[in-house]
């Protein structure tokens, strides 16, 4: 399968351009939403007792006394150059705060996705190939439970079993992988299993459906009727073709985990983006909320772009729309 490099490049270029447009839209929407959120952050930052001078001083220091449009264009200009302003609460650059939190989030997301893949790929394929049999029913029920279980509850359950009762793994904390791989592994296990079980349950259902789709396709029936051995049909044809949708769902799940494991991060006191967003919302740190939402959007767009590009590489039939 030869792919014309120029075509792929053009495809990537177009996707990059549309990603940039989406990103601009995200910046505008987030900015407008934050303007619409009720509540005066200056007042909240100061508490109930303060002098009017203190109020004006903080308001001016945080730039909130300027016209909204001016605030927007200065924000947009900054965002393009990677300057997302300073945190309302402590004056630290938002970009710096986000980059500090990113490694913890990525390492949890990757570990969680690996667990999800390990659980879902065999389970989904097995289930599809044994459609309607007892094993299929077991997988379907189990995955339904996995989809329905609230992640905070699952996290609590794991903590109470593995930390409190058995004393095997720490209930919270984070050590960077580079510093102490064993420490990192011990600490990431419970949150990653929590994330992995929930994501894995969702993926199992998609993979099962994808494999079933392929298994009932005409060319598979042709292959079977040609008398190919069942395991060759299964692995060379069905599973291979089902990989494209698996790639999609894995991409979506990765993006979701990167941006949305707020509850898991809070339960395990994991210092990632999710908990940062949680804290920022609680303290109405608008610049930080804006920056975090923007970063999560960028990651979503980047993962989607990556998946699309992989598609184009994998399946030449995919063209630029």
């Amino acid at each position: 399968m030869n792919i014309a490099p120029a075509r792929v490049m053009r495809f990537v270029g177009t996707r990059l351009l549309s990603s940039a447009i989406v990103l601009l839209g995200v910046i505008i929407v987030v900015f407008v939403l934050i303007q619409l959120v009720p509540g005066d952050p200056v007042r909240l930052a100061l508490g109930t007792r303060y002098t009017p001078e203190a109020y004006e001083a903080l308001r001016a220091a945080s730039g909130l006394d300027r016209p909204v449009l001016e605030q927007f264009f200065s924000y947009l200009g900054g965002a393009i150059t990677g300057d997302l302003g300073v945190s309302f609460r402590n004056g630290q650059p938002v970009t710096e705060i986000l980059l500090e939190r990113l490694p913890a989030t990525i390492s949890l997301a990757v570990a969680g996705l690996l667990i999800a893949l390990v659980l879902s790929v065999p389970a989904g394929i097995w289930s599809a190939l044994h459609e309607g049999k007892v094993s299929d029913i077991i997988v379907r029920i189990t995955s339904q439970i996995g989809v329905s279980v609230p992640d905070f509850w699952l996290g609590m359950l794991l903590i109470s079993l593995f930390s409190v009762t058995l004393g095997l793994l720490p209930s919270s904390g984070y050590t960077p992988l580079t510093e102490d791989p064993i420490g990192w592994l011990r600490q990431v296990t419970l949150p990653a299993v929590t994330v992995g079980i929930v994501a894995g349950a969702i993926m199992t259902r998609y993979i099962r459906a994808a494999v079933l789709d392929v298994a009932t396709a005409g060319y598979i029936r042709t292959a079977i009727s040609k008398g190919l051995a069942p395991h060759i049909v299964t692995f060379r044809h069905i599973v291979r073709s089902a990989l494209v949708p698996v790639l999609t769902i894995a991409g979506i799940q990765l993006a979701t985990i990167l941006g949305g494991v707020i509850v898991v991060e809070v339960v395990f006191a994991w210092p990632g983006l999710g908990r940062l967003v949680y804290d920022a919302v609680a303290s109405r740190d608008y610049p930080l909320i804006q920056g975090a939402v923007l970063l999560i959007a960028v990651m979503f767009i980047a993962v989607n772009l990556l998946v699309d590009v992989l598609y184009a590489v994998v399946d030449p039939r995919i063209r630029v729309a």
Partner: protein
């Protein structure tokens, strides 16, 4: 094709793992620092927003900074002011000049000497930059340093509460000018306290190390590591599993179990904070004292306390908790619907609606409002609850757009903090528009009375009238609840919720 996909995914994963490794913060070797058995690991409910004590208003910051900074004077466990950086002080006969004699041989964590210039710099910074606590210095007209060991503070009127304004909390800490001017103070603060900052990894932990040169004597602990755990069940599990030694993130519904537990120690004491109801006296019929009293008799304090705190808060009918030296005994109100009804009949009230202003930012106000609605229904009062965000709530309160509201006052120490702004006719926080000349003169006298016993009497009288006339309906003092492992000794739970580890030790 297959290989290619697999390889791409693997490469992607590897890149991310590599990225994940690029940690921004330098962290300490946790295992190394706790192996000597004397670094206490404390879990607090959130991350400090910054570590500049004069700028932050976050309790999470003060939980750490209590151990890093000192104030001129500081409250003891009964919240009476004791010497700290000032060894002694004198007040002039006209009560307008306070002369503080500073402690000798005190150094900042960077080794530089602490002098009167640091005090002048610190206080002027708060005033000049109009930091959030500037209001505490409103009585001060001048701060000077005649020599290295002396600070003279001049006030415009006699101010018996000056000491509690100077030392009531670490927001009035003495900071180092170099530390402020270099901008390091927000992340790498330098104080004179019993512990110094060793390491701060955003999002994860802060480590303090003992200051061997602390003027009060070197702490027994080698250090304190603060971890940020906001989820109470996780914090409790971490304590039970031995991952941490101390926490104040305790699920209130589990307090009863903890009280009887041998494995953990529970520290619980009513705080100086208080929660109250106030009726808008600028509106009919709430301007009638009998109607307000009727409501005070109709509400079920016990039910409110149970609902908002699982019974851990201490019911109270005045602002100041029982433990305080300023406590006044008072138990006029108990739930009595007959009495409430007859008071309403006397006032000629035949029923109506009451708009209760609560806020979703303080969920206890909403929970309490729901109970109050049920309490008042038999009296023909239909309670409508509004729950805007807190800054809207403040606007509504200030413009008088409410019939009744519930809120709390936090961090009070001096009785003037508890009563003046709230109940004096000219008080800045008198949103309920209460006005009584007798109370005004008692509160004015309390501001300048320097004899403590006489002062206590003034406030007892004022507080009793305030409650009799229902300027506020006091509900409860929430409890400070903490829990620690039995190996922690020498730690005390304080009514001002200050977390002091200077006298704490850890045994194996």
């Amino acid at each position: 094709m297959n290989k290619r996909i697999t390889w791409s995914i693997a490469a992607g994963a590897a890149t991310m793992l590599a990225l994940a490794g690029c940690s921004a913060g330098e962290s300490v070797d946790i295992n190394g620092s706790s192996s000597d058995g004397s670094t206490l690991i404390a879990a607090i409910g959130g991350e400090p927003d910054q570590l500049d004590p004069q700028r932050t208003s976050s309790y999470f910051s003060f939980e750490v900074l209590e151990n890093v900074f000192d104030t001129l004077v500081e409250p003891d466990e009964n919240l009476e002011m004791q010497p700290a950086l000032a060894e002694s002080w004198e007040v002039s006969d006209d009560q307008l000049t306070w002369t503080f004699d500073l402690r000798d041989g005190v150094t900042f964590h960077d080794g530089s000497d602490f002098t009167s210039a640091d005090v002048v710099y610190s206080y002027n910074r708060i005033i000049d930059e109009q930091l959030a606590n500037a209001w505490r210095f409103s009585a001060i007209t001048d701060i000077s340093a005649p020599d290295d060991d002396t600070v003279v503070i001049t006030v415009g009127q006699p101010s018996p509460n000056l000491l509690s304004n100077l030392g009531g909390f670490k927001g009035m800490a003495i900071v180092s000018q170099d530390n402020v001017e270099s901008g390091d103070i927000t992340t790498d603060p330098i104080g004179t306290g019993p512990f110094s900052l060793e390491d701060y990894v955003t999002g994860d932990h802060i480590t303090l190390t003992a200051n061997p040169d602390y003027w009060g004597g070197a702490p027994e602990l080698a250090g304190v590591e603060y971890r940020f755990i906001s989820e109470p069940s996780t914090a409790l599990a971490a304590l039970q599993a031995g991952d941490i030694d101390w926490t104040d993130v305790v699920p209130t519904q589990q307090v009863t179990d903890l009280e009887s537990s041998d494995e953990l120690t529970l520290g619980m004491t009513p705080s100086n904070d208080y929660w109250y109801l106030a009726l808008n006296e600028a509106r009919e019929p709430w301007n009638d004292v009998r109607v307000r009293q009727a409501i005070a008799y109709a509400i079920d304090r016990d039910a409110i306390v149970q609902a908002v705190s699982f019974g851990t808060a201490a019911e109270n009918q005045l602002a100041i908790p029982e433990q305080s030296i300023w406590y006044t005994e008072y138990d006029q109100y108990s739930t009595d619907l007959d009495k409430a009804q007859s008071l309403l009949d006397e006032a000629g009230f035949t029923g109506g609606t009451l708009e209760m202003l609560a806020t979703s930012d303080y969920p206890e106000t909403v929970t309490a409002a729901q109970i109050i609605a049920a309490n008042l229904e038999p009296l023909g009062i239909d309670v409508t609850i509004s729950q805007p965000d807190f800054s809207t709530w403040l606007d509504e309160q200030n413009s008088g757009n409410f019939d009744m509201l519930m809120m709390g006052w936090l961090g009070n120490i001096d009785p003037d903090d508890f009563y003046y702004a709230q109940h004096h006719t000219d008080g800045v926080s008198n949103a309920q528009k209460y006005s009584n000349t007798e109370v005004d003169s008692l509160l004015d006298a309390g501001r300048t009375e320097t004899d403590q016993a006489a002062r206590a009497e003034l406030y007892a009288d004022a507080a009793t009238i305030i409650a009799d006339e229902v300027s506020y309906i006091y509900l409860y003092n929430p409890s400070v609840i903490q829990s620690w492992s039995p190996s922690v000794t020498g730690y005390e739970t304080r009514a001002d919720a200050a977390i002091r580890f200077r006298d704490t030790s850890l045994t194996d």
